[in-house]
Amino acid sequence: MKRLNNHRVALLVTAVLVGTGVLVGALTAPPGLGAADRNPDGSYVGTKVEGTTPAQWRLTWEEDPAHAATISWTTAVEPKKSTLVYDTEARRGDVTGYRLHADATIGQYTDDEVHTWYNHAELTGLKPDTTYWFVMVSDGAASREFHFVTGPEGDADFKLLYGGDSRSDRDARRTMNRRMRALLEEDPEILALAHGGDYVANGEEMEDWDEWLTDHELTVTEDGRMLPLIPARGNHEASGPLFDQIFNTPGKKGGNFYRTRIGEQFLLVTLNSNISAGGDQADFLETVLSDNEKVRWQCANYHRPAYPAVKSPGSALEHWVPLFEKYNLDVAFESDGHTLKRTCRIRNGKRADDGVVYIGEGGLGVKQRTPKDDRWYFNGGMTASTLHVQKLTITKDSLTVESVTDTGKVYDSYEARPRKR
């Protein structure tokens, strides 16, 4: 009898304690600030992928955007021949009128269900700071005429966009793509978009990429200007082959880390937080940063944050941050958290005037999380739960990073002055 009572007491205490805990937890949960779905939009379908008609176009920059670019597109069936015709003058889509051409390499995307084909035309020997007009042609089926501007040479002023995490919420992604197009239309000095990774929810499924690529067409301006991409790999791209098939293997295969020089005085190092940070990649980072020690502006782009606004820090903190600090990086762009953040200037794990700033966390079309704004490194920085893209303005006197929301509002602005190098 006593034993039975003992067990009853235990059960009662368990119920009361656990019940109280659960209730207290539920009642003290922080409010969810997450941005709701916006602009429900099922009407947009993009260019239909059928036959050899070029669709799902994108333009990738890698190391030397003043002289090289890859223009890629998708076809539903395998073309016998795909060619990009291009020129420094507009030819209004008259395929025979373009003076230059580049044959594309053709291959099938790796997928069980979607059996479409990629076409990559690699352009080399381009002139800096020049508008190129082009048409994609696969077995006689041609796209409309597009154009893009190559990177500058010399000590040039220009603008860039940065953003990450365009996965999971298609309506929000389209909204942000339209926002980027609007930015590009109102400010032609914008040259490219550095993407911080997590393009899609499952980067090993072509079905997801199919949607992303179609939505990406929305970034093209009314008059056909294409926004070059400088892509980083996110954890949702995992180690699968599709990322390389979409972007023509930026950096080397299995690595996807590389450095981009835009003009004489701007360096962007794209890193891959899906692979070892401390091994070959740390060696690469050290080499690049020391080789470019005198370059005025130095930034990095990688997916998993060293100073996260929501989750725990990635390997970047141990393996890359010491190098950023040694070589006085200006800004490290980070994604993955699904929130907007800018840290204070950080050196040796403390706030310091000569430190490195970490900006981003991914707002190109994923539901936004509630940031943990009480972390020490946001004292002197900021966080917010809003879709966003960063606009970088690079001049001789300053590097400005504006965080622009889906509605076009400048939510935050950060300005760096040139360091003594």
């Binding site: 539920a26 922080p30 070892s276 401390g278 141990e318």
Partner: protein, 265 residues
């Protein structure tokens, strides 16, 4: 509560580990958000508020379960703990991106530990022992596979460990070779725990390695990362429990008579 004796050292090791796991899982959810939040909100379309509320409720529930895990009579709380751990494991499997098919196995020691503790509390010593053996075998086997597949996180741990402990800079290629050795060893000891023979030395090695690799997270990321270490406490505590149990049995094969549970009243 029964007192700690050499005879029930195994039970108390496991009990303490489960209590610490509750604290670690709860703290990780409160500090960094957990996989359930991401899964329900981003994949299943819950509102962030609802998903946050559920995780918060679970975190406080687990904190309440931590002291209860130390009290034998409150064993039903262990079922709640196991239920949440399994649910969180499934969420992590669904949202994970790097060989996430290994996650349920890799975390088996964690989510099976409270189930085994229920069995041991109810004097089902043999069932409890096998749950522990299967749990730790799955954990070591899956981590072994991850090492053989060159888990990038493991590469970075070894590089950082080499720098901190030996002041040496290991190249990535060399570390990958080491991981093949480590992975093969993990797989071997995993197999050794589920053959019908009780190797105390194997259990002791696994306990050492389990605690060491758990502690590596603090070594790697500093004390602020303590929940990442503590959450892996069962990786060392489960084999240590087996070691104590096997020492208590005093025999070296599985055909020994069913022991009685001296820890209960």
């Amino acid at each position: 509560m029964s007192s700690f004796t050499a005879d029930n050292a195994g039970h108390w090791t496991l009990r303490t580990a489960v209590a610490l796991t509750c604290v670690a899982v709860a703290s990780r959810m409160l500090m960094f958000g957990g996989p359930v939040l991401s899964w329900l909100w981003l994949s299943l379309g819950w509102s962030e508020q609802a998903a946050l509320r559920l995780e918060h409720a679970a975190a406080f529930g687990l904190l309440a379960c931590a002291p209860l895990a130390l009290w034998q009579k409150a064993w039903p709380s262990l079922i709640l703990v196991a239920g949440w751990l399994l649910f969180a494991t499934l969420a992590e499997t669904v949202i994970g991106t790097w060989h996430s098919e290994l996650t349920p196995g890799a975390l088996a020691a964690r989510w099976l530990a409270p189930v085994a503790l229920v069995a041991l509390t109810l004097q089902r010593e043999r069932t409890g022992e096998w749950l522990l053996r299967i749990g730790i075998a799955a954990t070591f086997f899956c981590h072994g596979l991850e090492a053989l597949f060159h888990n990038p996180q493991f590469i970075d741990y070894v590089i950082r460990g080499g720098a901190i402990l030996m002041g040496a800079r290991f190249g990535e290629h060399a570390v990958k070779n080491m991981l093949v050795f480590i992975g093969a060893l993990d797989v071997m000891v995993a197999v050794a725990t589920i053959v019908p023979h009780r190797w105390r030395a194997v259990a002791l090695w696994m306990a050492f390695w389990g605690f060491l690799t758990a502690a590596a997270r603090i070594l790697y990321m500093g004390w602020g990362n303590w929940p990442e270490s503590l959450i892996r406490v069962t990786n060392g505590a489960v084999p240590l429990t087996l070691f104590f149990m096997w020492s208590k049995f005093g025999v070296r094969n599985d055909d020994s008579p069913e022991p009685t549970d001296e820890a209960t009243e």
